[in-house]
């Protein structure tokens, strides 16, 4: 009987050792280099990145590891050296990121527009108004107890956009947030949409996530304000800084950025969502900026997401000027 127990203990040790060794082998078995990309959740949630990952990995011996977080945490990951590159949509933060010496080779890859969504009844009467006028109406209606606003409240790109919009509309966000009609959800874009839907409230949403939730019948909120320079949403890819963090897979990051801005990559972005939603969720930005095909939008992008007239100022191009020709 005692020998039995000893055998059990030996077996337990063996199984544990084999399991650990197995994991190490399983992970080490692939010779592909890994490329860790911290990404804003709005790109990830629509499954666009799944499509891009599959096509990229079929072509290159690189394994992509997407970590889906808000733009805020994506930037933090890269600042700590945990990500080789990032995909974000918060130009003001991106500039600070480049200036802080954390990122290089920024490239604008796509754009679309945020939407102010709200209940069909539209108690604040904002339909088709300008974004700033719409926000003023929502504040008035909120203070009259006839409307509510739900905020991301998480320093994501969408939340940063929201704060910029309040400022443009002449309000101070840090005092608005204390008012009773202003609700901070802090559960990602999807969570925020669900909360807004439950409260019959207004919120700022990226079109990709909104359409997905709307088509699936999870929310019944309607898009009320969708146009205007202020609602522009620009997505960029930024590689890490190999001088600061020599261990990062910088070459992999450049390869991936080149794939994103290639005809093939831009094509994937342009077509994504057409089959399911009947419309594209993201507009490719590379040819637009290169050939100035739509001067209005190009000017908007330059106003909003260029730094001193550059997509990426030369001092941050890290010997990759070919990305910008």
């Amino acid at each position: 009987m005692q020998r039995n127990i000893v055998i059990w203990i030996i077996a337990l040790i063996l199984v544990a050792v084999i399991s650990v060794a197995g994991t190490t082998f399983y992970i080490g078995a692939t010779s592909n280099k890994k490329l860790v990309i911290s990404t804003t959740s709005s790109l990830y949630d629509t499954a666009l990145l799944d499509t891009i990952e599959d096509q990229f990995e079929a072509k290159y011996p690189i394994d992509i590891y997407f970590i889906s977080v808000g733009s805020g945490l994506a930037l933090t990951h890269a600042q700590r050296g945990d990500a080789d590159m990032i995909l974000v949509h918060a130009p003001s933060e991106e500039l600070a990121f480049l200036e802080g010496g954390y990122g290089t080779c920024r490239k604008i890859i796509a754009y679309n527009f945020f939407a102010i969504v709200g209940p069909e009844a539209d108690p604040a009467n904002i339909k088709d108004l300008s974004p700033t006028q719409a926000l003023s109406n929502i504040v008035n209606a909120g203070r009259n107890q006839s409307a509510k606003w739900v905020s991301r409240g998480d320093d994501s790109g969408t939340h940063i956009k929201e704060k910029e919009l309040w400022t443009t509309a002449g309000f101070n966000w840090s005092t608005l947030r204390d008012e009773s009609w202003y609700i901070e959800a802090v559960t990602g874009m999807g969570g925020t949409l669900k909360v807004a839907n439950a409260f019959n409230a207004y919120t700022l949403a990226d079109m990709g996530t909104y359409l997905k939730y709307y088509k699936d019948g999870i929310i019944s909120l309607k898009t009320l304000v969708t146009q205007g320079e202020n609602l522009l949403n620009v997505y960029s890819a930024i590689a890490g800084n190999q001088t600061k963090y020599p261990h990062i897979n910088f070459d992999g990051a450049i390869t991936f950025i080149k794939f994103l801005i290639s005809e093939e990559g831009q094509e994937i972005i342009a077509n994504f969502g057409k089959d399911v939603y009947g419309q594209s969720l993201f507009c490719p930005a590379v040819n637009l900026l290169k050939q100035n095909t739509d001067p209005t939008i190009v000017q908007w992008i330059k106003n909003y997401a260029f730094f001193n007239g550059y997509e990426c100022p030369p001092e941050y191009q890290d010997n990759h000027p070919e990305l910008y020709t």
């Binding site: 005692q2 544990a16 399991s19 990830y44 590891y65 889906s68 050296g81 999807g190 997905k212």
Partner: protein, 217 residues
């Protein structure tokens, strides 16, 4: 058959079982001896050690997840190990999470064994190690319960798995992380399927434990 093996739901389920199983076994390697020593020996500070392990039973997983992320992060003290984000980090994290469970439950089980059994074994000519094995055998029910409770805790928790595994598609996704992230993505139905699998695993194991315990006793 190949298609089935390639099915993401199948792979996620297997990965969940694998991470929790490996973590539990790993934790058992050090936790069983610690638990037995605490249960059988009298030493200075014993109550304090027991108290610490009991307190750690309630470790919030988000707290442990954050601590481990900061440790494994490239800028953290263990960053050179290149463990964030990875399956290994998840296994290590779950093993740490369940260590207090195995230690505490094993210690209680061993303590509840009549001390005379050990003395009796020694009187009958058993060595110290052999006598300890006798005690372990007597407390087998409690030890099995400890292992199974640990497995259930590991497979059902989200905080650690998400913090150090980051829910990488096809790599570190386990049932709980996928359920959480897919709900965020709006894929409620997919989440429900995974939830049913998770519940089935947890409940089945609990029922088996009850049956097993009855047989051991």
């Amino acid at each position: 058959m190949w298609d089935f093996l390639q099915n993401p739901i199948f792979q996620i389920t297997i990965r969940s079982l694998y991470v929790s199983g490996t973590a539990t076994l790993l934790a058992a390697l050090w936790s069983l001896p610690i638990g037995m020593v605490i249960g059988m020996k009298n030493f200075w500070g014993k109550q304090l050690v027991k108290g610490v392990f009991n307190a750690l039973l309630g470790m919030p997983t988000v707290a442990l997840g954050l601590i481990l992320y900061l440790l494994f992060s490239k800028s953290g003290p263990l960053g050179f190990l290149d463990l964030f984000p990875s399956l290994q980090a998840m296994i290590i994290g779950e093993a740490i999470l369940v260590t207090p469970i195995i230690v505490s439950l094993t210690a209680s089980a061993v303590e509840s064994v009549d001390p005379e059994i050990k003395d009796l074994a020694k009187t009958l000519g058993a060595s110290e190690v052999e006598a300890s094995v006798t005690v372990l055998r007597e407390s087998m029910g409690g030890v099995v319960l400890a292992i199974i409770a640990s497995f259930n805790r590991a497979i059902a928790e989200l905080g650690v798995a998400l913090a150090v595994g980051a829910n990488l598609r096809g790599r570190t996704q386990v049932l709980t992380t996928v359920i959480a992230m897919e709900v965020n993505r709006g894929n409620i139905e997919y989440s429900i399927q995974l939830m049913i699998i998770l519940l089935a695993i947890v409940f089945t194991i609990t029922i088996l434990t009850n049956l097993l315990q009855r047989r051991i006793k």
